[in-house]
Subunit: 199 residues, 2 copies
């Protein structure tokens, strides 16, 4: 067995950085290969295809991101948790220069041609999966808050509403790039969900 001349994880990180900045279709394997100091063919040998490479790189990101969200949603009052959640969300897709946007949302709209269409189906699943997991996390926080009397309402519906807003923020970020506006919308949403200006 001839050993690999590159580090599997390094390539994954380099690749995801490119995908994040330029989109999946906008990133060529040549770009990644150059950046990683690897021959293009080696990437095909190691990962199979561009989409497979993206998928692996995305899963890595998704795992890390979920852990960070879990942490943000796990401490303090419900209001504090939700604030930290929105904060992390916005910070995430305002990161980089220029800001890279939300990879999940970008991926969904770029690749999610439609249910059943091309082979992007697997990618769509991965995106949808992360969204589901985040929704569950938020819902847990809300349920816990309800038990402590910090929230009265349907946790499931409220969680879904919050997730919808975060996805919308990811879109508005691309449209306007005004971070302050995004944070205002986030604060407003928290107020709305937490039964008005209650603190």
């Amino acid at each position: 067995m001839r050993p690999r001349e590159f580090d599997h994880d390094d390539v994954l990180r380099i690749a995801f950085d490119q995908f994040w900045r330029k989109g999946v279709r906008g990133t060529s394997l040549s770009d990644i290969a150059r950046d990683a100091g690897v021959q293009r063919g080696s990437l095909y040998n190691a990962f199979g295809s561009k989409e497979a490479l993206f998928l692996q790189a995305y899963e890595r990101y998704a795992g890390d991101y979920l852990v960070a969200l879990q942490k943000a949603l796990g401490a303090g009052s419900l209001r504090k948790r939700l604030t930290a959640f929105f904060d992390l969300t916005i910070t995430n897709f305002r990161s980089g220069t220029p800001p890279r946007g939300c990879p999940t949302t970008r991926g969904l709209m770029e690749l999610g041609a439609a249910e059943g269409e091309g082979l992007d189906e697997e990618a769509r699943q991965a995106f949808a999966n992360l969204v589901s997991r985040i929704t569950a996390l938020v819902q847990d926080a809300l349920s816990a808050g309800a038990a402590r009397g910090e929230f009265s309402g349907n946790s499931a519906a409220a969680a879904l509403h919050i997730i919808t807003v975060t996805r919308g923020l990811a879109v508005l970020e691309r449209a306007f790039g005004d971070e302050a506006q995004l944070r205002k919308i986030a604060a407003h949403t928290i107020d709305l969900v937490l039964d008005k200006k209650g603190r």
Copy 2:
């Protein structure tokens, strides 16, 4: 002057249909040319580039869509208006088989690499423009509703919130494709904005 052998508007409609179904990067000028019964070179002669063609096709769509929204937001109680607005929004991106999603949102996430990046800047402007106009329409409806005592609150903030939700719905549509769920979120949002279950 040799006359054109194809109808400018026909091509625009055919092109936008393709862009809508397969995304901008996922649609080739060869596809459009074949569909329209036109040589690829003729498209370059008439429109200049793929992006220019998309832009023209998109502007056409945006104009029509805005008129429809204006109509939906212009009659009945505030609740009825907002319901009609969400209804049209969801129906729009659930149209087609399979559903094509929201062209504006898809375009934004696909092309909006970032402010200042490639020449997609012009496209980003077009998308952002439509979002702004829709926001203004919703805000007008809310202001009018406030004057009639159907709504108490900040019209601007509420309009922005509603727009954010619609963008989020466009994303969730891609992720899950569950139309009933989208409609639930929409209804929930209306309740939230209109100060709880008040009718």
